[in-house]
Structure formats: C-alpha cells, structure tokens
Subunit: 493 residues, 2 copies
C-alpha cells in the first residue's frame, strides 16, 4: 500500500476506522483521570501561573525591535520578511449592508500546525495539553494544544528550539494521524490564513515536559465551561473530532451510544445534543445535499473582491505613535507590545498585535424541529476567507455593544441579549488567539428557543443538525466562530 502510512501499521491496529469515533466518545464521557483529578490539575495550572514570570507592556511602534514599517508600502513587517505582516485590503462586495471598505489585515501566508497528541491509557483516550503563555491573552496562561507551530517556528527562523513533540505531527512513523484537516481563522482579521488541525495517536510512553499534562476529553469539556481557560487553537482542533453521527455510517456504534445507560446521567439539553448528532438524515430539516445547494446558491450570488493594497493607502484608518485605528469607529487597532516570559531562563521580544476594543458575541440559536434539536447557521462573507463565504453561527458579531448603539441590524441578536436563564445552555467568555490578538474576547452563547417560536429566516440562514455541522467541519465549510462554539458544546450531568 502507500508508503506514507507504512510506519503506522501497529498504530492502525489500535484504533480502526470503525472504533475511532467510539473512543473519542468514551473519552468525552470520562472525567476521571488516572494521572490527576480535575482538582489537582487546577492546582498544577495555578502553580504554573504563579511561578512563571510574565510581563506584557504596550509600547510605541518606534520601540519595536526587528519590526518595521516598510518604506514604500508602510506595511508593518518583520525585518526577516517572515512571521506575519500587517497590510491593507480594499474590499468590494454585494453581500451585506456595507459594499466597500478598506481595512488593515494580517497576512501570514504559511500553513501552521495546531496539533494534539492522544494516547490510549487503560482503555481511555487521553489528550496531551499544554499550559501556554501568549502575550495577547487577558490572563496570559491558557490551556493549549500539544503543539502550536507556525512554519517560521519549525523552520527555525528565529533560531530558537523546535517546539516539543513537533516530530509526532511531521513523521508518520512516530504516530498515527487520526485527524488532519485544514481550517481557516478569522476572515475579518486574517488574509486567507489556514492551519492544519491535527490529532495524532501514539502508542508508547512519552517524556512529559514541564507545562504538559494528560486530560480526557470530558475534562477538557469541563474546562471549556470556564471563561478564557481553553485557548482558541485548542478549541479549533477539538471541534474537528468526529463523534459518531449518521454521517459516519456506524449504525451499530450509534445505537450503542443512544441506548447506553450513560446518557441518562446527563441533563435534558445534553440528550438533545446526542439526538441531534445521531439524527438520521431523513429526520433533519434539510438533507446535506439541500444544505450544499443553499450554500452553492449563495456563493454564486454573492461576491467579495479583495484587493491587496499598501497599508499607507488604507482609507479611513490612521496611524499614531502607538496604534493604527479607524478614524471614527471602535473597530480593532494594531498595537505593539514588549513581552518578557520565562522561569529560569527569561525570553523577551517585541511584536505587533491586533487589539479589539469591545467584546464580541458568538451564538447558536437552537430549536427543536420535528423533535430534533437544530442549529441556526449563517452563510457569511468575510474578506479574508479563501472562497468568500463560510458558515458562521447564528450570531457572529465583533464589537457588539458599539454596533447595537449604532443601530446596526444584527439578525437574532435580541434573542441572546434577552434570553431567560433557563434557555441559556452555554454562556462563557472565550479568548481568540493570543499570539496575534490582544484581549480579543467573545461571549460564546448557546440558547434554545421554544419549539413553537416562529422565525423568519433571511436567505443566508438555515437550520442544521449537530451531525451535519460536524460533517461540514470535516471539509472546511465552517468558520472559526462556528468551530469555537462547537468545541464549547459538552455533556452536562
């Protein structure tokens, strides 16, 4: 057979196509940990926080070291030409209320790796997670994937060490690649950025470095109920996990799960989530082909043309000594920071970050249709998307307070702002990527409407089951906002 998989024959026998979904599911149901309880994990994590030296200070652009405004374009870039740069784009679109604008955007054309190592220990799948500092995090330290590596990282542009465990995501002889898909990042902030989202399986003892620990999926889901605890990259990878659904073709496995007594330990909404995952296509509001047709029509109808322009030509934005910001509105700013971090050895560097001025809101509106929980999804054009339109949650809105104040029309936002507590099934604040964003927080909400609530849907909204959402994540249809919200969905007792 193909050479690329030859090294992993032994690993292939551990988890087969048929059982992969099942082992992820079992780990989801497991909150017990043979290494450490969730309590001792918290102690370990707090200890990291207090014993590390971290400091992030805003600085003027002129204090940036090795970063400069390019003479001819005024683009903000690294002197090596690597890492990322802040450039300009001019957008023309027939989608949405605003048809043309300029804005700064992050250009980082490389595909990085976001990866989690898993291992079967006593029949349960464990995930190797990392306590990682990133300068843009409000709380600096968050739970992160095993590896977050840009190409500049692993080609060692900065001359530093290779990230721990990177080899398991590069060498197929060392692990089995269970999940390995390209996923986008924020299309409003990144120009066509994508990362490999990977979960790999190893079958032997690993040296566990400082800052790393094994957790079950059930434990991680519990941590996702806390604000700003599990970082964006981890959430993105976790959202790619293929739980059993009607699209996996594993009918027996599905039945086992639905019939299992375990499910009865969980609350009503958790049961609805399971049903929405396993719902056969004929009970869903639309078939997958109907959803693809809805998406195809919108892609045909709406264009978003993005022209790269020098940052100096971006209209409506201004640059001061300390930030690049919009002249009128509290959209994001480009700022600069200096960072110090370390324990024994202290590293320091400076870099630009994108700062958000207000919290955003990401929300799934859910409702039972024909007895099955459906999620209201939105096709949304954003300039950094590789193909114009991706699928976003019901509400996906940055600087929400300002937009409300300006009386922008944000469909379905009211349902979230006025939701009675008993209809709110998830409500946490989560951080976007702290390596590029400074204090970029989104409130993540999932609310359930009464079955009888009538809704008028604009053409770019459609109902999907959870099984359909996860199937479409596999092929890259879902934007980062959808994926981060999916990661937050967990089973609660």
């Amino acid at each position: 057979m193909g050479r690329i998989f030859e090294g992993s024959q032994k690993l292939m026998s551990l988890i087969t196509a048929n059982t992969m979904h099942h082992f992820f599911w079992q780990s989801l149901l497991t909150e017990e940990n043979c290494f450490q309880s969730t309590e001792s994990f918290f102690e370990w994590f707090s200890h990291k926080k207090t014993h590390y030296h971290f400091s992030v200070q805003r600085i003027p652009f002129s204090s940036l070291s090795q970063w400069l405004f390019d003479e001819s374009t005024q683009n903000l870039r690294h002197s090596s030409g690597r890492f990322f740069s802040i450039e300009g784009i001019r957008v023309h679109t027939n989608f949405g209320p605003v048809h043309t604008w300029d804005q700064p955007i992050i250009n980082q054309p490389e595909i990085g790796i976001l990866g989690i190592i898993t291992r079967m220990i006593n029949g349960v799948l464990y995930f190797l997670m990392q306590a990682k500092m990133e300068p843009g995090n409000v709380n600096l330290l968050q739970l992160s994937p095993t590896v977050q590596a840009t190409k500049s990282n692993f080609t060692q542009v900065h001359g530093g060490k290779l990230p721990h465990y990177l080899e398991y995501f590069i060498d197929r002889k060392k692990s089995r690649f269970l999940i390995d898909v390209l996923q986008s990042e924020q299309g409003g902030r990144f120009l066509q950025k994508r990362n490999r989202n990977m979960i790999v399986l190893v079958d032997h003892d690993l040296e566990i470095h400082d800052d790393f620990c094994w957790l079950t999926l059930g434990q991680i889901k519990k941590l996702l109920q806390y604000d700003n605890f599990v970082n964006m990259d981890a959430r993105s990878v976790l959202s790619c996990i293929p739980l059993p659904s009607s699209y996996t073709g594993l009918v027996d496995a599905q039945k086992t799960i639905l019939d299992s007594a375990d499910i009865n330990h969980y609350n009503h909404f958790s049961k609805s989530l399971c049903e929405s995952l396993l719902c056969p296509e004929q009970q869903a509001c639309y078939t997958l082909y109907e959803i693809l047709s809805w998406f195809t029509e919108l892609k045909t109808k709406y264009q978003i043309n993005v022209q790269r322009i020098p940052l100096k030509e971006v209209k409506g934005w201004k640059r001061t000594d300390t930030e690049i910001c919009h002249e009128k509105y509290p959209f994001f700013s480009v700022i600069a920071v200096s960072v110090e971090a370390g324990t024994r050895e202290v590293f320091s560097w400076t870099q630009p970050l994108l700062m958000e001025h207000q919290q955003g809101l990401l929300g799934f509106l859910t409702k039972k249709i024909n007895g099955v929980l459906h999620f209201l999804m939105q096709a949304k054009a954003e300039p950094g998307n590789r193909d114009g339109i991706e699928i976003a949650p019901t509400v996906s809105c940055s600087a929400a307070a300002f937009k409300l104040q300006r009386n922008d029309i944000i469909p379905f936002l009211d349902f979230f702002l006025n939701a009675p507590p008993e209809r709110i099934h998830c409500d946490t604040v989560q951080s976007e990527e702290g390596g590029r964003f400074y204090h970029f927080l989104n409130r993540n909400m999932v609310i359930e409407l009464d079955e009888s609530t009538p809704l008028e849907l604009p053409e770019n909204y459609i109902w999907m089951t959870l099984g359909q959402i996860i199937e479409l994540i596999k092929h890259g249809y879902m934007n980062i906002d959808t994926r981060t919200l999916c990661a937050c969905l967990g089973l609660k007792r």
Copy 2:
C-alpha cells in the same frame, strides 16, 4: 422552515433524502425508455445532425468581430468586457519537475450553470438531455445537459433569448434542486473557473423543445461508451450523482442493491464497481480521514503561486496572424473561428478557442486490494485551480505522444499504453468543452491490474474506493478529469 425551500414541499414528498440515491440507481439499471428506444434516439440524433446547418472555419485574429487585443495588455477580450478573455499567467511552484513557466489562460470569472432536469415517469427517473452544437466539437453536435448557461447568457449580454428551461435552475418554486454543487474546470486552461453542477426534479409535464429528449441514466451510460457523444458538461454533472455508498448511511438501500438479482446480469467488472461503491470504510485501504490527511499534507507541502500578467509579457509564446502558440512545443494554441449554425434561422458569430494539437490521456488504474476494487488517484497542482491542488486520475496527461517522445516521466502511463485487451474496461475518446476548446480530445481509459501486481507509489498517489471518490466529488475535491472518467464508468451486461 427556511423560505428558500417552501415552494418545493410537494416535490420533496416525491423523492426523500432516503430514496434519492435509490432512484438514481434504478435509472442507472434501466435502458428501456417509454418515449423512445435507444435505436430511435440514434435516428433522432442523426436526423438533427444532417438537418442542421453548421460551419466552423478558422480565421485570422483580424477577422474576429467584437473581439480585440487590448491595447495595453494584448489580452484577447470581448469588446463588451464580458464573456471570457485570454490573459497571461506566470507560475512558480515547488510541485512537479518544472518550477516556473508562463502561459496563456482563459479568464472567465463568472459561475455558470450546467444543469439537467429529471422527472419520474412510470417510477423511473428520466433525464432531459439536449442535442447541442458547439463550435469546438470535432463532430459539432453532442449530447449535452438541459442547460449550459454562462452568467453572460442569462443576463443576456448578447441580447439573445434566455436558454430554454433556465427558470427551473433559478426558481426553487419550479423544481426541487437534488444536486447543486460547485465544480472546477481544467486547471491548466481556465483561471479559477467554476460552474454550478445541478440536477433538478420537476413533477409536471414540460413542453419538450426541439433538440431535447428524455433518456434514462442507463441509456446515457450506454452512449458514454461511444466516442465524442456525451459532452464534457454533461459528464461533469453526471459525475455528481450520489449513488448509494457507505457514505450515504443508507444501509438498507445498500443491502437491497447488493442482494438484488439485477446485479447478476452484469459482468465481473460491473460487480466490482458496485462492491467498490458500497464497501464499508473498514474494508477500504484508507479511511476518509486518512485520505484527507494525505491531501492536507500535500497541500501544506506544495505551493503553486500564480501571478496574472498581460498576455504580451508571456515568455516562450508567440503570436502569429492566426494563432498564439508555444515557441518550441506542441502545447495548446489560441485560435479564432467563425461559426454559422441554425435551421430556419441561421446565426453566425466569431470567437477565440483553445486548440489542442494532440490527444491527451486520462486513465484510472484499478486493482483489487483486500478483495475490493480500488482506484489509484493523484494529487495534482495546476495553476488555474482555486486552491492549488485537486485530485486527478492516475494518469491525466495532455499532448501524450509529444511528452512520451520528449521522455517526460509520466507515472503509470506504460500500464495504459501496454494494457492487454482483457484488462481494459473502458476505452473511449471524449471531447472537452466545445465552447472554449477546439478539437480537444482525451482518450479515457480504465484498466484493472492483477491483484498481485506490486506498485511503488510516489507520495502524491493514493488508493481509493469508488464510494470514497464519489463522496469527495460532493465536496469539490475532484478535478474535471476525475469527474469525466467517473461519468464513463457504467454497468455492462
């Protein structure tokens, strides 16, 4: 529910998610036609051929009417700025043996519609096909989808009539959209061109215009055994048909098909095709997630950078009075033709076309692995692809004779050139799109290797089942060459 589907409630009850695959399958098995036998269809088609006036003449560029070489770029474009233009690209890539080149390319940034109307008649699904003249066809008239419409067509830039039946592909109240997916065209000739490939269902009598007729899928598959009979657009749409597979989750339907006595009427290779379609994932060489991982790794490893340049700056190509061609090699040329066509009313126009100088070869190498027929597929970077790499058949090679003569290394080509007759399961010559290409022919071959034949695979090749290929067509991974070959696969008694 969503407004977009409201009009089609009645149609939804005709064919459900559960039964759509089944009805396509039944039509595939049906060669009887309640309107006309295949024989009388041939008579009808020959009659069209002899009673239409067609004439296509090569002309010098200077005789083109309404087409001109743009003064500043020398791009060849329509005076309206619509339709398509011939421009230049400069390519840099780390994929394949040639790392940089210039070439002309067709730029047609609109999404067109390629669509077939279907109807259930006496329990069998019929396809409304069209006998359509296109200037680049070797035989002028070929069997085409119900509708082939560019956006310029249906926005009536040319001031002509709307194409017949177009409304059924635009107005969801008039039909049910069964299949509706975006698919690419030749990435070596078109810059990011895509079309909506659609199959819609109507539930009432239609006026059948001249040049249109109803055929079953079984009949169309039979016509695909003839050279240059079913055009490229029809083949592309037909390849999107979702036959029952392990990815449709329709276990009962699958069993019905495999157990059905019908299958026993077909030859050995046809049975192998059915098994490859229905093969459960655990019997396939690789799971779909493993295939996605292979694809993700190649996308990460290989880049193809395409810079649009004025045609006048394309190096290595020259323009004469009658063609734009490569200075040394028999790659394609850009030529101009004048066309006359019609019966009572005669239309005439002039247009550019891309001419191929030699026949190409598209081939699937197949082999049983673990008792299941697998297809050897290739990840291939072409400059016109929207995302660099798409999945091509084992061999996908234009100007095959020239490349052999030049001693180019074309993996697996020898298997096709030296295949013993009993190993050849498909061998026809098919035409690429006659609206843009002049006499662009590809030999389409499917051969089966002995199970014991050892093969060393380069990293960008992988084995897939037919079920996996069709599942990936759904999401746009497969290039036009793969799709055209898939369309040619049929069941033979």
